[in-house]
C-alpha cells in the first residue's frame, strides 16, 4: 500500500467524506461546519460536495441541537455533530446523558441512537479556563455512551468511520494539538475498532498508559529514555475512554509490574484515576510498586502563557516518573542527554514554530 502522510485534521476530513459518500444517511452539522475555516479544515469541501441538505451550520443551541440530532438519529439518520470546544458540550449534558446514553436501554432496545459528537479539547495560545477543559471523565461516567480519543491520524480516520457505523452515541474527542500531526493514512475506507488500546512502544521496565495527546508525549519520553538511558517502557495509547481497555493495560503491567497513567485532564476524578483503580482492583499482585498518575493540576487552566508553561505535564515529567520507578540516576550525563532529547521545538503554547495565533 502506498505510504501517504496526512494530518490528523485531514484524516478526519477524509473519514467524514468517505462516510458521507458511502452512506447517504450520514449528515454533518455544527457551528462553523461549512464556514471558510471549516472547523480547523476538518470539514472543508463537504458542503460543496454533499450540498446544504447534508452539511449544516447550526444555531448556538447546544442542548437543543444535540436533542435534534438524537431525534434525527432515532429516525434513521446518522448525524455527526461538532463542537469547536468540548467546553460547549457542557450545555448539552442533559441530552447526552439523560437521553442519548439511556434511550436504547430504557426502551428495552427498541430504538438506538447512532450519533457521533465530535468535541475538541483546546490547548495553547491562551485558551484559558473556559476553552481548554478536558472533560472526558464526566462524559465517560454514563453507561450507554462511548467516548473515544484517537491520537494518530490513522486512528482518527479509522475510529471516526467506526464511530459513524456504530449504533450508539459516540463522543469523538480530538485534542487540538493533534490536528496538525501527520501519519501514514490509507486512502481507502477502513475501520479501527473502538475500545482497544494500542501499543506505541515496547519495553519491560514500566507501563505508561496514556490518553490522547499524552500518548504523543509519552512516546517522546519512551524514545528518549531508550536512546539516552537504555530504558525500555511500554507505551499504550488508550484510544478509548469508554469502553476502557483495561485488559491491555493488565497485560503490560503483568510484564512490567509498574504503572504510570498519563491523562490530559485535571487530576481529581480523571479517567486516569479510574484506570489506576481498575488495575489495582484486578491485578494488585502484578504491581510491584504504587501506580502513578500524571495529569493537569487541580485548578482551572490559566490563560497567560507564563502560567500554562507549568500547567501541562509533558515528556519530562513522564520520564522523571519512570526514572524514579526504576531507581535510575538523575545526575548522570545520560540524564542531561535525555532532557535535551525531549525539549519541545518552539514555543510551549503553540503547535509549531510557524503558528502565529489565535486559534
Amino acid at each position: 500500500m502506498k505510504h501517504r502522510d496526512i494530518t490528523f485534521a485531514e484524516a478526519i476530513r477524509e473519514g467524514l467524506d468517505q462516510s458521507m459518500e458511502k452512506d447517504p444517511r450520514v449528515i454533518v452539522i455544527g457551528e462553523g461546519v461549512p464556514d471558510p475555516k471549516a472547523i480547523f479544515n476538518t470539514t472543508a469541501g463537504l458542503r460543496d460536495k454533499y450540498g446544504n441538505r447534508r452539511v449544516f451550520d447550526m444555531p448556538l443551541s447546544e442542548n437543543g441541537m444535540t436533542g435534534i440530532c438524537i431525534g434525527a438519529a432515532l429516525s434513521g439518520l446518522r448525524p455527526v455533530m461538532v463542537h469547536q470546544r468540548i467546553d460547549f458540550a457542557l450545555l448539552a449534558m442533559d441530552q447526552l446523558i439523560n437521553n442519548a446514553a439511556k434511550w436504547h436501554y430504557m426502551f428495552d432496545g427498541k430504538a438506538s441512537v447512532p450519533l457521533v459528537v465530535r468535541m475538541i479539547v483546546g490547548r495553547g495560545w491562551g485558551q484559558g479556563p473556559q476553552h481548554s477543559q478536558s472533560l472526558q471523565a464526566m462524559f465517560a461516567h454514563a453507561p450507554g455512551i462511548k467516548v473515544i480519543m484517537p491520537t494518530t491520524a490513522y486512528d482518527a480516520k479509522g475510529m471516526l468511520i467506526s464511530a459513524i457505523e456504530d449504533n450508539n452515541p459516540v463522543l469523538f474527542i480530538e485534542h487540538r494539538l493533534l490536528h496538525q500531526i501527520k501519519d501514514n493514512v490509507p486512502e481507502e475506507y477502513y475501520r479501527v475498532p473502538l475500545g482497544q488500546a494500542k501499543v506505541l512502544h515496547e519495553g519491560d521496565a514500566v507501563t505508561v498508559a496514556a490518553f490522547s495527546y499524552m500518548a504523543v508525549e509519552a512516546l517522546v519520553a519512551a524514545k528518549a529514555l531508550k536512546s539516552a538511558m537504555g530504558i525500555g517502557i511500554d507505551v499504550l495509547d488508550m484510544r478509548s475512554v469508554r469502553p476502557l481497555d483495561v485488559a491491555s493495560v493488565l497485560n503490560s503491567v503483568r510484564k512490567t509490574g509498574q504503572l504510570i497513567v498519563a491523562d490530559t485532564a485535571s487530576r481529581t476524578g480523571s479517567i486516569a484515576g479510574e484506570l489506576i483503580s481498575q488495575v489495582s482492583e484486578q491485578a494488585f499482585d502484578a504491581l510491584r510498586t504504587h501506580p502513578v498518575r500524571i495529569a493537569c493540576p487541580d485548578h482551572p487552566a490559566p490563560t497567560s502563557h507564563f502560567m500554562t508553561r507549568h500547567y501541562y505535564p509533558g515528556p519530562q515529567m513522564i520520564a522523571d516518573e519512570v526514572l524514579k520507578m526504576v531507581g535510575a540516576d538523575k545526575t548522570s550525563t545520560n540524564y542531561r542527554e535525555l532532557c535535551a532529547l525531549m525539549l519541545h521545538d518552539g514555543p510551549h503554547d503553540a503547535p509549531n514554530r510557524g503558528f502565529t495565533g489565535p486559534f
Binding site: G64, Q95, H104
Partner: protein, 320 residues
C-alpha cells in the same frame, strides 16, 4: 363531522378516562410501583390532536403520557404491563409509566425530564424533511416545559428549516403545585412561539372538536411544508400532579377552582353536545363502556399474568 366520527372521539376520551381510573383504583394495591402522572381531565387534547394524525405520523410525549400513547394507538396491554414492571411491558419493565413507546403505532417515546423530548421531535421532523417523507411529528408538553430554554432552541431550528413538527402545549396552569403566575410573566405562551415565527394557535383544550379542528389545520399545514406549528390548549388536571388521588387537601387550589375544572369535563360536555345534536346516545355509550371495561380487565389480566423480569432482564441492551 359524521356521527360515527364524533362517537369515535367520545369513545377514545372515555377509554383513556376509564383506563386511568382503573389504574388509580388499583394503584393502592402497590403492585404498580412507579411514579404516575394521570391525565384525567385533559383527555380531549390527546384525542383531538391524535385524531388529526395518520398512523405513519410520529408522537413524542412527556411524563403525563398515558393519554397521548393510547390516543395514538399504543398497545394497552403493553402499557399496563409496563406499569406493573413486567417483561411484556412496552419497555420490558425498564421504563414504567414515565417511559412509554410503541413504534408500530407511531408513538416514538415519552420521558420525564421536562423538555427532553421536544428537540427529539424536531429532530424526527428534520429527518422526515430530509427524507422528503410525508410524516408529521407532534410533541406534547406542558406550560411548565415552556420555561425550558431547549423549547425555544427547538422552535428556532424548526422554523429555520421549516420542519413538519407540531408543538402542542397543554396549559393546565400548573407545574406540579406551582401556578403559572409564579413561573412566568403574564403574556400568552403561544405569542412567544408566534414571535419565533411559528404559526400559532390557541384553543379550549376541553373541547375535543375544537382541538381536532385546530390540529387538522396545523397538521395539514405542517404536512404541506408550511413549517412548524404551535398549539396552546387550556385544560385542567383533576388529580394530584403525581399519583392516583385527588389532592383537594393540599390546598394549593380552592375547592371552587377544582369544582369548576371538573365541571368543564371534556367528556361530559361532549356527551351533552352529542346528545343535543343527535338525540339520546345513551345506548351507544353503554356499549362503549362495556367494551372498554372488558378491554381493561383483559389488559390487567395480561399484565398480572405476565413474566416478572429477572436480574438477567435488567442487564444487556446498554449498547446497541
Amino acid at each position: 363531522m359524521s356521527h360515527s366520527s364524533q362517537l369515535a372521539l367520545l369513545r377514545s376520551m372515555l377509554r383513556i378516562r376509564r383506563i386511568e381510573e382503573a389504574i388509580a383504583d388499583r394503584y393502592a394495591e402497590q403492585e404498580m410501583r412507579c411514579p404516575m402522572h394521570l391525565c384525567i381531565g385533559q383527555e380531549a387534547i390527546a384525542v383531538g390532536v391524535c385524531a388529526a394524525l395518520s398512523k405513519g405520523d410520529s408522537v413524542f410525549s412527556n411524563h403525563r403520557a398515558h393519554g397521548h400513547y393510547l390516543a395514538k394507538g399504543g398497545s394497552l396491554n403493553a402499557m399496563v404491563a409496563e406499569l406493573y414492571g413486567r417483561s411484556t411491558g412496552c419497555c420490558g419493565g425498564r421504563g414504567g409509566s414515565m417511559h412509554l413507546i410503541d413504534l408500530d403505532a407511531g408513538f416514538s417515546g415519552s420521558t420525564p425530564i421536562v423538555g427532553g423530548t421536544v428537540p427529539l421531535a424536531v429532530g424526527a421532523a428534520w429527518a422526515s424533511s430530509l427524507k422528503q417523507s410525508e410524516q408529521v411529528t407532534v410533541v406534547f408538553f406542558g406550560d411548565g416545559c415552556f420555561e425550558e430554554g431547549v423549547v425555544h432552541e427547538s422552535m428556532n431550528f424548526a422554523k429555520l428549516h421549516k420542519l413538519p413538527v407540531v408543538f402542542v402545549c397543554e396549559n393546565n396552569n400548573f407545574s406540579v403545585y406551582t401556578r403559572l403566575n409564579e413561573r412566568q410573566p403574564e403574556r400568552p405562551l403561544y405569542r412567544v412561539a408566534e414571535a419565533h415565527g411559528l404559526a400559532a394557535y390557541t384553543g379550549n383544550g376541553n373541547d375535543v372538536e375544537e382541538v381536532l379542528a385546530i390540529s387538522r389545520k396545523a397538521v395539514g399545514l405542517a404536512r404541506q411544508g408550511q413549517g412548524p406549528q404551535f398549539i396552546e390548549l387550556h385544560a385542567y388536571r383533576w388529580r394530584e400532579h403525581c399519583g392516583p388521588n385527588f389532592d383537594d387537601e393540599l390546598n394549593y387550589r380552592t375547592a371552587q377552582e377544582i369544582k369548576a375544572g371538573i365541571h368543564d369535563c371534556p367528556i361530559a360536555s361532549y356527551t351533552r353536545k352529542l346528545e343535543k345534536e343527535n338525540g339520546n346516545i345513551h345506548l351507544e355509550i353503554e356499549r362503549c363502556e362495556a367494551e372498554i371495561q372488558r378491554e381493561i380487565a383483559a389488559a390487567f389480566e395480561f399484565a398480572l399474568s405476565s413474566k416478572k423480569p429477572s436480574i438477567d432482564d435488567s442487564q444487556g441492551k446498554v449498547y446497541a
